[in-house]
C-alpha cells in the first residue's frame, strides 16, 4: 500500500517498454517487401521525412527504436525518472506517433493503446510532484474501462455474438484462425456458445466490478480477461494485445484503489 503509486507507475512503464520492444522487433523481422506494404506510399505523396517507405531505412528506424527502448528501460530502472530517461522516452513517443501516422493500414487496438500510453506518460513529465505519476495512471485506467466496456457492450448488442456461433467462423479463417479448434467448435455448438458468451461476460465483468467495493472480485475480473488475451494470442496470433493491454492493469488497479478509498494514495 505504501508504494502503490510508484509500483503501479513503474510496472506500467516497464510493460509499455516491453510491448514497444516486441512491436519493433516484429517490424524489424518482417521481410523488406512486406514492409513496403505496411508503410505503402499513397499516390501523389512525395515520400516521408525519414524515408520510411524505403525498406532499409525502415529497418534502421526499427533497430534504433529497439535500442532506445532498451536504453530507456535501463535508465528507468537504474536512475528512475532522470532527465535522460525522460528525453529517451519522449523521443520514443514522438517516433511512435510518427510511425503510427505513417502506417495507415494494418493498425489495431493495441497500437492505439500503446500510442496513447506513450503520449500520456510523456505529457505528464511536465506535471509537478506526484501528479506526474497520478495523472497518466488515471488516464490509462480510464481508457481500460472504456476499452472493455465498449468491446463487451458492442458484442452484447451484436446478434452474431449473442447467438454464440461466431467463434468457429472467426477461428475458421486463415487470418485469425486455427483450423482444428474451429472444426472442434463446429462439432460442439454448446461449447462454442459458452466461449462466445464468456468472452462478452469477461469484458463487461471488468467495468462492472470496478464499481463494486470488492477488491478480490475486481482482481478476478482482471485475471479472467488476461486469460482471454492469452487464449487469443495462442489461438489467433493476436500477441500484441497480450503484451500491450496489461500495461493498463496497474493503472486501473491504482484508479480502483483511489476511487474506493476516496483519497489519493501517494
Amino acid at each position: 500500500m505504501e508504494n502503490l503509486l510508484h509500483n503501479c507507475y513503474n510496472l506500467s512503464i516497464t510493460i509499455l517498454c516491453l510491448s514497444n520492444f516486441i512491436h519493433h522487433l516484429e517490424l524489424l523481422l518482417i521481410r523488406k517487401s512486406f514492409t513496403t506494404l505496411i508503410y505503402f506510399k499513397e499516390s501523389g505523396q512525395k515520400g516521408s521525412v525519414m524515408g520510411l517507405y524505403n525498406g532499409n531505412t525502415k529497418q534502421y528506424f526499427c533497430a534504433v527504436q529497439i535500442a532506445v527502448t532498451c536504453l530507456a528501460t535501463y535508465f528507468f530502472w537504474m536512475q528512475g525518472l532522470s532527465p535522460l530517461f525522460k528525453i529517451l522516452f519522449a523521443l520514443l513517443s514522438l517516433s511512435h506517433l510518427y510511425s503510427y501516422v505513417k502506417r495507415k493500414i494494418g493498425r489495431d487496438g493495441a497500437d492505439q493503446v500503446r500510442l496513447l500510453s506513450f503520449l500520456a506518460f510523456s505529457l505528464c513529465f511536465f506535471a509537478s510532484g506526484e501528479w506526474l505519476k497520478i495523472l497518466p495512471l488515471f488516464f490509462i485506467g480510464g481508457q481500460l474501462l472504456i476499452l472493455y466496456g465498449t468491446s463487451g457492450a458492442i458484442k452484447l448488442g451484436s446478434v452474431h455474438w449473442r447467438k454464440g456461433n461466431v467463434l468457429a467462423d472467426i477461428l475458421g479463417t486463415h487470418s485469425f484462425g486455427n483450423g482444428k479448434v474451429a472444426a472442434y467448435l463446429k462439432k460442439h455448438p454448446n461449447l462454442e456458445k459458452l466461449f462466445s458468451h464468456s468472452a462478452i461476460a469477461a469484458m463487461l465483468f471488468v467495468p462492472l466490478t470496478f464499481l463494486l467495493p470488492l477488491q478480490p472480485l475486481f482482481l478476478l475480473a482482471l485475471a479472467c480477461i488476461f486469460m482471454f488475451h492469452i487464449s487469443t494470442a495462442l489461438l489467433m496470433g493476436l500477441n500484441d494485445f497480450l503484451f500491450t493491454i496489461p500495461l493498463m492493469y496497474p493503472a486501473v488497479f491504482y484508479l480502483y484503489k483511489v476511487v474506493h478509498s476516496g483519497t489519493l494514495i501517494l
Partner: protein, 184 residues
C-alpha cells in the same frame, strides 16, 4: 496542484471524454465532427464486433507475356504461421495490412458511380495491391517489363473445407513499365 497540472488534467480528462463519445459515435448527433481525426488517434475499441470478420481475402494475379498467359497465382498471404506466434508474430502486420487494403478497395469501388468506376485505377489501395504483386514477382524474379498484369480479390470461408469462394473484385489489365510499375 499547480496551473500546469490542471492544464494536463484538462487535456487528459477531455481526451477521455472524447474517447467515450467516439465509441458511441454511431448513435450520437454531429457525426461529422469526427472527421477532424484524420490520423486515427481516437481509439476504436469495438474489436471483432458487431460483425466479426469470418472470411479470408485472397489476392490472385495473372501475368500475360508475349509468350502467352500464365495461370493465376496467389499472393502468399497465409503461409507464414509459426507455432511461436503467440509471442512473436511479425507476419500479422502484413496479413492485416493486406486485409485492410482489400476491404478499403472493395468499399471504394462499391461507392464509385457506374461511369466513374475506371478511376479505381488511381486509388491508393489499388496501387498498394499492385505494389504487393510487384514485390511478389520481384521476389520470385518473375518481373517482366513487357507483359500485362491483372489481379482479382476472392473471398473464401473456412480454412479446412474452403466451402465457398467468390470473386469480389477484378482489376483492369495493365502494362508493366521498365521499373515494374503498372501503367494506369
Amino acid at each position: 496542484m499547480l496551473l500546469k497540472d490542471g492544464i494536463i488534467m484538462g487535456i487528459l480528462g477531455g481526451f477521455l471524454l472524447l474517447s467515450m463519445f467516439f465509441q458511441m459515435r454511431g448513435k450520437l448527433p454531429f457525426k461529422k465532427i469526427w472527421r477532424f481525426d484524420t490520423y486515427g488517434i481516437m481509439p476504436n475499441y469495438s474489436f471483432f464486433a458487431p460483425n466479426p470478420l469470418t472470411n479470408d481475402f485472397r489476392v490472385v494475379f495473372r501475368l500475360s507475356t508475349p509468350n502467352g498467359n500464365e495461370g493465376f497465382q496467389e499472393i502468399r498471404l497465409y503461409k507464414f504461421k509459426k507455432w511461436y506466434r503467440f509471442v512473436l508474430n511479425p507476419f500479422k502486420y502484413y496479413n492485416k495490412g493486406l486485409i485492410d487494403l482489400c476491404v478499403a478497395l472493395i468499399h471504394e469501388y462499391k461507392h464509385l458511380d457506374e461511369d466513374a468506376k475506371n478511376f479505381i485505377q488511381i486509388s491508393a489501395n489499388y496501387l498498394g495491391i499492385f505494389n504487393v504483386i510487384k514485390n511478389e514477382l520481384m521476389d520470385s524474379q518473375k518481373i517482366c517489363t513487357n507483359g500485362e498484369l491483372e489481379f482479382s480479390i476472392l473471398v473464401t470461408q473456412d480454412t479446412t473445407i474452403e466451402r465457398s469462394c467468390s470473386v469480389v473484385f477484378r482489376s483492369f489489365k495493365h502494362k508493366i513499365q521498365q521499373n515494374g510499375e503498372p501503367v494506369t
